[in-house]
């Protein structure tokens, strides 16, 4: 049986070892002088790009009103059933508003389906990734925590209009 030559057999220069060491160290030194990618996290915050899916938030218009009309599509599409919406009637032109809008952040998987399905562009993924709770109750975010002024969400909305 013919002996098959292994493709990974080392060449002569590799066998003498030192040139390879020099090559490796060259890469090390090159990266030593390159700018750093790591962030000193708690002190320096990571600011994600608009495509980032942080925690979902409700869009609050400039007049302090939510855009949401409580159609319930986000709650329906939510794979882990994190969202609960209870609608009610208002005297305003839009007729319908969410009297209760809760996202259980322990259930949320940040898939962004709610944002995708929303017909009113009322729920979007924010850049907030800092989520910590000390109890299950705390993890349920109500309207007070979800409503976010629209000027903080402009780049995400722009991104959505471009790519959604």
């Amino acid at each position: 049986m013919a002996v098959k030559k292994r493709t990974k057999d080392l060449t002569f220069w590799q066998k003498i070892y030192l040139p390879e060491i020099a090559k490796g160290l060259a890469l090390t030194f090159k990266n030593m002088v390159k700018p750093k990618y790591t962030i000193e996290y708690p002190e320096d915050k990571f600011i994600p790009p608009p495509s980032y899916r942080g925690r979902p938030v409700l869009v609050m218009e400039a007049d302090g009103e939510e855009r949401c009309v409580a159609c319930g599509l986000c709650a329906r599409v939510c794979p882990p059933l994190a969202i609960e919406v209870q609608a009610s009637e208002t005297e305003k032109e839009k007729e319908r508003y969410p009297v209760k809008f809760e996202i259980n952040m322990l259930r949320c998987i940040f898939c962004g389906f709610c944002e995708e399905v929303c017909p009113e562009e009322a729920i979007v993924m924010s850049k907030d990734y800092e989520l910590a709770f000390t109890s299950r109750e705390e993890a349920i975010y109500g309207k007070d925590k979800l409503l976010t002024p629209i000027d903080q969400l402009n780049d995400r909305i722009e991104f959505l209009r471009k790519y959604k």
Binding site: V69, R76, L81, E84, K94, P119
Partner: protein
């Protein structure tokens, strides 16, 4: 028999039928907005346009009589184009506010837009604006912009209720619906217009914005508002009944249901404050919650203290046949012959459409199940008399607020030594009671009821109880109810600790040394079908969704061999 060909399928039709009726009878669906099987033909929506061979123009299927040998195409290029055009026309002035509209999810226009529309509009101009949120009556809200002017609601008031209250005003795209001057949509059947409205123009004011359609579970049940026993669907979310809608049954209620049945038959079931959770025993002046077991024991021990002729058992026309049958059986076995139930007649309630003067759902069934005085026993009026005389000291009462509807009885009940009551809510009768058992409401248990015509119909559990029903039918639960955990704020399950009356009776009987073994309500019904001629050979499967008439329902059949 004459035949007609629809899309290559040969079907038979009765003479006088229109194309759409012949198609419907054979399971072919031709899209329609304004046509309704029970209303006159209007032919204004034009969405049922079909092509008929050798006819020069398209015809509307709802107003064209089927003729022998007719060849109809519902999906030919011409028909499809016409349908698309009609949909585009209808959608010109229809607002795109489905996220707000309550009808979304059960909207005919939404469905047809998916099925038959091209998906975009060429109309760039401003849509016609009309009045929104007009209360047409105490129960119905009208949204002029959403209306597609099919006139179903107008025809319903004219033809079914025979009380013309609605009409069109204006013409063309400004046409809208108003009530006649000085009138409002306040007939007893007004909420049916919200069902037949193909869009969200007419909505139920009681249900508005409470829930989306797809978030609720539906359970086939029977209305308990009167002895008609209209077939209904119970819509439940978060273990609360949110609305009741009629279910088609040609033999009972057709497509309709009265407002009373829709609005007043479920609120007491939802009311957590007045619901009886568990069993209560009177100590001093107040009722103290007790373990079920000790309440059964106490009831049995107290019952044993009295002579048989000092005891009266009172059944209920609100309870199911199974509950009443078991009460009668226990009374017989225990030797109590004072057995009766109270009839509730309200001569002002009935009409000649659906509503009946007998405002209980099951008086026929209570009688059939054997709730009537035994040998030497007394009927209800005599029982009350005997209580006043001090001859009867104990009453065992099933699910009926007799003290409320009969002041005489209330006075008499106050004199009783022992009053044991099964009840869904706290009421005047439970105030007088010594032992109270929390009974499951009709929407929480399996069972049967018999309407005034003698039709046996099933009720099914729509709302979950702390002790689930063991029947193999299972129970329909909305997605939220199914998957909610105790940690989810939305899963406040509102679960009540009540039991079906037959379970309570069975457990009390056990303490009375009368062992009964029923696992599910159907076990009792099967025993009834063996012992009661009128129910011979019936089981829950045979009753199905629409129920069956009892045998020989003209001669009031009598139970035998109890």
């Amino acid at each position: 028999m004459a035949t007609i060909t629809i899309d290559g399928k040969k079907i038979e039709f009765k003479s006088g039928q229109t194309i759409i009726q012949a198609a419907k009878d054979n399971g072919i669906n031709i899209p329609h907005f304004c046509w309704h099987p029970k209303l006159s033909i209007s032919g204004n929506c034009r969405v049922c346009l079909v092509e008929v061979a050798k006819m020069p123009k398209l015809v509307i299927a709802c107003a064209t009589l089927a003729a022998d040998g007719m060849v109809v195409f519902t999906n030919s290029e011409k028909a499809v184009n016409a349908r698309n055009a009609v949909m585009e026309f209808i959608l010109i002035n229809h607002p795109l506010d489905c996220p707000i509209c309550d009808e979304a999810g059960e909207c005919k226009l939404q469905e047809y837009a998916y099925d038959y529309s091209v998906g975009e509009s060429r109309f760039k101009e401003e849509k016609q604006h009309k009045e929104k949120r007009v209360p047409l009556g105490p129960n119905v809200m009208f949204d002029g912009e959403r209306c597609i002017s099919c006139s179903r609601c107008i025809r319903f008031c004219d033809e079914i209720v025979k009380e013309p209250q609605l009409t069109f005003v204006q013409r063309g795209d400004r046409v809208t619906i108003v009530t006649y001057p000085g009138k409002e949509l306040d007939n007893d059947y007004s909420l049916n217009v919200t069902d037949i409205c193909p869009v969200g123009a007419l909505t139920n004011r009681d249900f508005r914005f409470k829930s989306r359609v797809w978030e609720m579970s539906t359970t086939k049940s029977v209305c308990t508002g009167c002895s008609r026993g209209c077939n209904s669907d119970i819509w439940v979310r978060n273990n609360l009944i949110l609305r009741i809608t009629p279910r088609e049954n040609e033999k009972v209620n057709s497509y309709w249901m009265c407002d009373h049945g829709r609005l007043n038959t479920f609120k007491n079931i939802n009311q957590l404050e007045t619901r009886i959770n568990g069993a209560f025993i009177k100590e001093g002046l107040s009722h103290v919650p007790t373990e079920w077991e000790s309440a059964y024991r106490k009831a049995a021990n107290e019952l044993k203290k009295y002579a048989k002729d000092e005891i009266a058992f009172i059944g209920s026309p609100f309870a199911t046949n199974e509950d009443n049958y078991l009460l009668a059986k226990i009374a017989k076995n225990f030797g109590v012959s004072n057995l009766d139930f109270m009839r509730h007649e309200n001569p002002a309630f009935g009409d000649d459409i659906l509503k009946r003067n007998d405002i209980t759902p099951n008086s026929f069934g209570a009688e059939l199940a054997g709730i009537r005085p035994g040998k030497n026993g007394f009927a209800l009026s005599e029982i009350i008399q005997k209580i006043n005389d001090g001859k009867i000291k104990v009453v065992y009462l099933l699910e009926d607020d007799i003290a409320e509807s009969n002041p005489e009885a209330a006075e008499a009940f106050a004199k009783l030594k022992l009053l044991i009551v099964h009840s869904v809510n706290f009421n005047k009768t439970t105030d007088l009671a010594h032992i109270i058992f929390g009974a499951a409401a009709y929407a929480e248990k399996n069972g049967t009821m018999i309407n005034f015509e003698g039709r046996v119909q099933r009720i099914r559990p729509a709302v979950a109880l702390a002790t689930p029903d063991k029947s193999l039918d299972g129970q329909k639960l909305s997605r939220q109810d199914k998957f909610g955990t105790e940690y989810d704020s939305w899963a406040q399950k509102n679960i009540k600790d009540a039991l079906p009356s037959w379970t309570i009776l069975m457990n009390v009987a056990k303490e009375l040394d009368f062992r009964l073994k029923y696992n599910i309500a159907e076990d009792i019904f099967l025993e009834m079908s063996k012992n009661i001629d009128a129910l011979n050979g019936l089981n829950y499967n045979i009753l199905g969704e629409l129920g069956v008439p009892v045998k020989d329902s003209i001669n009031q059949p009598l139970a035998k061999a109890l």
